[in-house]
Structure formats: structure tokens, C-alpha cells
Symmetry: C2
Subunit: 453 residues, 2 copies
């Protein structure tokens, strides 16, 4: 059995390759890498510096080396391509599908990018890449590749197969053949299965399926991910405003979009403001974490000033201070729960919007129910352990905080979403800091009123 | 142009269909649904009750109706199938691919499930479904479908195409033909592209690719999702321990796994303990939210008891209470950031584990850097607004809390992961509640020591 099992890069293997590089043992390196998937070689090269990696790549077949470069992490690749001259980069770029080529070029300094493009030998490829560079990276135009198989509706199956043969090298995975009219406007698609099963002289016009789900170049990546997921598509044709077929998005790119969206949401919920990883430097990691921590700190200092207003109450009844953590922690927890539920409902395309008021009323009911349970528990506990006035104060304040936190947790992500921000921002330190302050205000005002009543 | 644009279900359209159902206007319903994608009809039916939906489904072609049932949300489907008798369910099940069929059957009460299986006419299908029901839903066996195209290595291309033709109705999307030996052991694969380009008399043995990435029936879904994402696979063959080909997993199922994982993580981070959606009832939503809120509440009450120990200190220096929110909020924020970074690093398969100690030392450096910045800011502010002793206490306590919260936020998810829990649990109320208490302890102990020095 020769199937390439998920390859395990061991520390030992890494060391052997490292030695081989130092000794310039070309035979050994070529031999060790011959049956390794290019994605695994990319992972391996992440462990070496740019010069070492260049040495390895130059031993390999140009096409494989290009795939390996395509699989590198963006940061590594940037460091990495710095040791190549534009002509060398162009040679690799020619072997890579246009979408990945454009992504790589997008990360290069403008001057080098221009030089690389000037060095691309295949004029069609160069013009394709220049076209793709025009698009925003987060829309269909930025995600699509120019490589696809296109058949004129007037062809027959034999002509279509000839086209597949002609393009076979460029288009790694075909999925469907897209059917266009004489003006290149998308009419439909034929799956490879249908082509295999059709008679050789069958006309494309008779076998193609006009029910094809296409996307416009300007559609956002989140929207495309939703569509492709909903309709279980493994590829989607991209059309421009004239409905001409201009490219194709494949499911592997969409999976990356979905993963990036989840990553981004996690960072927003945790209050991390840059796209960092544990592998980054201490300095980068600190810088990504400090902004939200400082904002939280300002919230805390504002809270301190606010509590200061009630210093006299505290000096009379120190036990008031005991419940500060309880009030603000519960407020924070309720707020995050509410906003996470809203973020979740925003993440899936709503089919029928139950009216915003309906949602609101439900939110209030859930808040009241939770508020009654929690303040009931707290009232009982404080009544038994301290006294009834304090129990009443803490219970009332907690109930109010639960209601307010639910409402804010629901409304803030909706507002952020309307303003074009990622609503998950509301599930982060943003909401806890806001609610901390509101919770403190409610608690001390209630206490002050009741003690001075 | 007839391409099925992403269909928009308007409220108006919904009302028209609703009226048509009431009036039993079969012609209108059939006509309105003729060009609508089955996924959109599923979304439409979510708005009707089971009886109404049954009426609509029975007007449609059995195959389309089956796809529509397959696309329903699990909860809706359960309510829905309750109005069908087992024989009717069996008729739909026969039209659905085996993986989805097994998922549907898994949600039915055991007695009905048995009756449905007994009513399936196609004995091969029934035995496939029974086989799939044996597997845990979260592993490759539970994700795979039995539908695939298999070619014996001794065949030629013509025989292979005959097999594709024979199975064309059962296997909706083919992607690759899997090549097996006489004992059904997986040898490799041939893509449809290669079949189209090969000569009719070419032997499969000569054209197949032995570098196929397969998974074992027992592999976990997260692992499979990682593999298929890493190697950009649109399908993966599933083999049993004897390396026999037993099924196939397609990328649409993997996208669902990735989305579910992200959903689950969001819920854990927000402290929501059940798989709920905003559409669920007030009672279900409250029940999902209360457990973590009550745990947070207990943390708060413990905190109250703890602060109570220092009542005398508070009665002397009420301003001590001012900084309670600041200390615990910062601790919580730092803890969540740390755990989110660890969760992220656990989510991607590590290639080379940089030693655990290396990570730890880096965590400490980041914590020290953040701690210095934050406590420096706080010291300055408190020094200017209050007094130097208080500034020193708050600064010291904050620094200690930042360090401890970083360490706990790093260690807790690692421990949870080792114990087999989802590490994202550590980014939820779990970590904030723990760190609240530790923060309070540090703060009051430092204050008590310094004031009584």
C-alpha cells in the first residue's frame, strides 16, 4: 500500500534534512522529499531560514517548488522571497494558479511586484494576474482564479473534451465545465460526470444545466462562503456586471475564508487587536494585547472615580463593597451571552426576519426569567448571611443589571453590524467594560437611595 | 439568462404560498416551486407546521422532496417526520444518500427507526444504512457515505466508464474514482479529468495515482477537517482497519464540521451550555444560559465572603474598594486573551512543537511586559489622584494579577485539552470567575500587609 498517509514531520527527520543542507548533500535531500506532499514540504521549510529554503527549492522540480511556495505561511513567504530576484520569482509565479499568484504578488513591495510581472513569459498569464490584482482581496474578484474550462454552447462534447485536453495542465481541478454564449456570457454548466456519460456527438446546448449559481466579482467573501456552504458547491463561476464569465472560486478557498472568519471572531471576543499567533515575538504579542487592556484599565479607573462618589456610604456600610465583584461579573457574563447569541444569528443568512420587535420582546423575557432566578438566589444568600436591607439592595441591583446587560448585549452587536463593524467586537472587552460601569452605577445608586431613605 | 440567482424568500412570497396551502391550490404551489433550489424550499418549510409541509412535499417529485427533507434543520425535521408513517419515511430515505439517511435515522426514536429500515425496499441501501448507524456520529464512519465509484485495478477505462454509468444516479458528485485490488483494498485514485483524457483501452493500473490521502473509519471529525483543509481535498476515501475501502467523505460535510466547531467554541467562550439559537423558546434559552451564570454567581458570593474578611481595612480606607473592579476586570481580560491564543494554537495541527518550556517562557515575558505597562499607568494615575501608598498597592496587585492571569490563561486550556475537554471552555466564564477570586485575594492581601506594615 503506497497511499500517502498524513505525513508526520519528526524532529529527527528535520535534523537530518538540516544536516544535509549544511553538507550540501543534494542527493539525500532530493531522495527524502520525493514522496512528501508539497504542503508538508512547506511546513518543513517554515523551520529553515530563507537561504536554506532556497537551496532546497532549487533542487526540486519547478512545478513542485512553486506549489511549496504557494503553501507557505504569508510571513515566512515574504521573508523568503526577499532572497530571490524578480526573475526567479516570476519563474515560480508562472507555475502557480492565478489566484494564488495574485495573493503572493499582493504581499510583495510594489516595485518588486512590477518587476516580477514584467518577467512573466506567458503574456496571457501576466494579463490575468494584472486583472486579478485590481480586485479587493476580500471580494469574489480577489478570491477567484482565471483558470477554468469554458465551452461555447454551440460546441459538441468532442470539442469540449479537446478544450479540457488543451487546458488540462493549467486547471488542476475541473469540477464543472462552464457554458458560455458567443459573448462569453455565462449560460450554465456541465459536470465532468455528464461529459463522460454523454455521447461524443451530443451538443453542449442539449446537455448543459442552466441552473448554475454564480457570484458577481464585487460580492463579499462572507456572502460567497454562505452561498457555497448552503448549496454545497465545490466551485462557483464568477461573472462581471455584464454577466461575462471572468473566473472561478473553488471550495478550498472558501474553507480558508470560513476558518479566517472564525479566527477573527475569536480574537475579537478575546480582545486581541492584531492578527497574531503564539509563534510571534514577545513584542508583537504584547502590542496586540495592550490596546484592549488599556481600554479596560480606563474603564476600571473611571469605575474607581465613580465609586469614590459614594465613599461616605462605604465608610458607613463596608459590606456594600463585598458585592461589587458579583454585580459586575454577572453583568459581564450576561452581556457576553446575549451578544454571542446575536452574533450567531447574524452569522447565518436569515431567511425570514422575524421582526426586530419580536426578538426584542423575547430577549426581555429571557432576561426577566434569568434575572428573577439569579436575584432570588442572591437575595436568599445575602439575607441569611448578612441583613435584609443589603439583601434587598443587592437583589434589586442584580436584577436591573441582568436586564440592562441583556439589552446592551443584544443591541450593541446589531448596531455594530449596521455600522459595518464585525458584531463579534461586542462580545469582547468592549461589552464587559461598558457593563462594568453600568453595573456599578446601578448598584451604588440603588444602595445610596435605600440607605438614605 | 436563467441562472438560479441566490433565491430571496420574501415575506410576500411566503404569504402567497401559505394561502395556497390553505386553499389546497396544488397547481399554484407546484408552479411556484418548480425553479426553486431544494435548499430554499427547506428554508420555506421551516416557516410552516408539519401538516402544511407534508401537503407541499407530497405535491413534489419524490427525489426533490427527499432533498428538501435532507436540507431541513434537525429540530424541524424531527417534528416534521412525526406526522409521516415509517413506510412514508422509508420512501424518502431511499432517495437520499446514505450518510444523510443515517443522520436522519439517528434522530428518530429507536422503534420508528427499526420500522423505517424494515420498509426500505432496496436491500443494498438498507444494509449500507445499518452499517453506517453503527458508527459514532463524530468520526469518519459517521460522516462518510457509502456512495462512491470504485474501479478494480485490472479494469480498463471503458469498464470504468461503464461503472460510472451504472452508478451515475446514486453518486451525485463523483470527484474521483477509487482504485481497489481484488480484496477491495484501496490502492489509489483516478480523477474524472484523467478518465476523460485517457484512451478508452488504457488500463486503470497504468493511469491511477497511488498517492491518495485516506482516513480510517475511527478518525475524529476535527482531525479529518484539518487534513482535508491542509491538503485541499474535495473528497477523501475512508478505509477500515483491513485497509478496505468502505466509504467516502465529501467536502460539504467537512465545511459543516468546521462551522459547527466554530459555533461550539463561540458558545463555550460566552458561557452558553447548550446548543441553542435565538429562535428557541424563552425557556430553552434561559436554561442554556443559567448554569454558567449561577457558577459566576457563586464565584461572586465567595468573593463577597472573602472581602468580608478585610472589613476592618475597608472601614479605615474606603478607597480600597474603588479599585476592585479595575483589578478583576483586567485579570479577566488578560486571562481570556491568553487562553484564546492557546486555543488558537491548539486548533491548528502543530508541525514541530516548540518545547512547552519555550512557550511558557515567552508567555511570562509577554505577561511581564504587559504587567509593567499596565501597572505603570495605574500607579501614575492613582499617585496623582489619590496617594502614594494606595498607588503602590494597586500597582503591585495589578502586576501580580496580570502575571497570574496570563499563566492560568495559558495553563488551563492546555490541561483541559489533555483531559479531553474542549480547551475553549477556558476562555469562558470559567477563567473569569477563577481569576476574579485570585485577583481579589492578591489585592486584599497586598493591601492588608502594606497598611499594617
Amino acid at each position: 500500500m503506497e497511499n500517502v498517509a498524513p505525513f508526520e514531520l519528526t524532529q529527527e527527520y528535520l535534523e537530518r534534512i538540516r544536516e544535509a543542507i549544511e553538507e550540501k548533500n543534494e542527493v539525500f535531500i532530493r531522495k527524502s522529499l520525493v514522496n512528501v506532499h508539497h504542503e508538508d514540504v512547506s511546513a518543513l521549510l517554515e523551520e529553515f531560514n530563507a537561504e536554506q529554503s532556497k537551496f532546497v527549492l532549487e533542487l526540486l522540480d519547478k512545478e513542485i517548488a512553486s506549489d511549496i511556495i504557494g503553501g507557505l505561511d504569508e510571513d515566512t513567504r515574504a521573508k523568503f522571497l526577499a532572497v530571490f530576484d524578480p526573475k526567479e520569482i516570476a519563474e515560480y509565479i508562472e507555475e502557480i494558479e492565478t489566484d494564488d499568484a495574485a495573493d503572493i504578488l499582493n504581499d510583495l513591495p510594489v516595485k518588486i511586484r512590477e518587476e516580477v510581472i514584467a518577467n512573466i513569459q506567458n503574456p496571457e498569464k501576466a494579463s490575468y494576474i494584472i486583472e486579478l490584482l485590481r480586485y479587493d482581496e476580500d471580494c469574489a474578484g480577489g478570491l477567484m482564479a482565471k483558470e477554468l474550462i469554458k465551452a461555447n454552447v454551440n460546441w459538441n462534447v468532442v470539442e469540449c473534451i479537446a478544450e479540457i485536453r488543451r487546458q488540462a495542465e493549467d486547471v488542476e481541478k475541473i469540477y464543472s465545465v462552464y457554458v458560455v454564449d458567443n459573448e462569453d456570457r455565462l449560460l450554465g454548466r456541465v459536470s465532468l460526470k455528464e461529459i463522460i456519460l454523454a455521447k461524443a456527438n451530443a451538443k453542449i446546448a442539449d446537455i448543459y444545466n442552466s441552473e448554475v449559481i454564480s457570484v458577481f466579482t464585487y460580492q463579499r467573501e462572507e456572502e460567497i462562503a454562505d452561498l457555497m456552504q448552503k448549496y454545497d458547491l465545490e466551485s462557483a463561476p464568477v461573472i462581471n456586471v455584464q454577466r461575462k464569465l471572468v473566473g472561478r472560486i473553488t471550495v478550498d478557498d472558501i474553507i480558508d475564508v470560513i476558518t479566517e472568519m472564525a479566527d477573527e471572531e475569536r480574537k475579537l471576543m478575546a480582545g486581541i487587536s492584531e492578527d497574531v499567533e503564539v509563534d510571534d515575538s514577545v513584542w508583537v504579542l504584547s502590542r496586540a494585547r495592550l490596546p484592549w487592556l488599556v481600554i479596560g484599565l480606563m474603564g476600571g479607573l473611571t469605575g474607581a472615580k465613580f465609586i469614590g462618589v459614594f465613599e461616605d456610604d462605604l465608610l458607613k456600610v463596608a459590606s456594600l463593597a463585598f458585592f461589587i465583584p458579583l454585580i459586575i461579573a454577572t453583568g459581564g457574563n450576561v452581556g457576553i451571552q446575549s451578544s454571542a447569541l446575536v452574533v450567531q444569528s447574524l452569522a447565518s443568512i436569515p431567511v425570514f426576519d422575524s421582526s426586530i420587535w419580536q426578538k426584542f420582546i423575547k430577549t426581555i423575557f429571557v432576561a426577566i426569567l434569568n434575572g428573577i432566578v439569579l436575584s432570588g438566589l442572591v437575595y436568599t444568600f445575602v439575607f441569611l448571611s448578612y441583613d435584609s436591607t443589603l439583601a434587598f439592595i443587592v437583589g434589586c441591583a442584580l436584577f436591573t443589571v441582568v436586564i440592562l446587560a441583556s439589552l446592551l448585549g443584544t443591541v450593541i452587536p446589531l448596531i455594530l453590524n449596521k455600522l459595518g463593524f464585525n458584531p463579534a467586537l461586542a462580545s469582547g472587552p468592549f461589552i464587559t467594560t461598558t457593563i462594568d460601569l453600568i453595573g456599578l452605577a446601578v448598584y451604588f445608586v440603588v444602595a445610596h437611595l435605600l440607605y438614605n431613605f
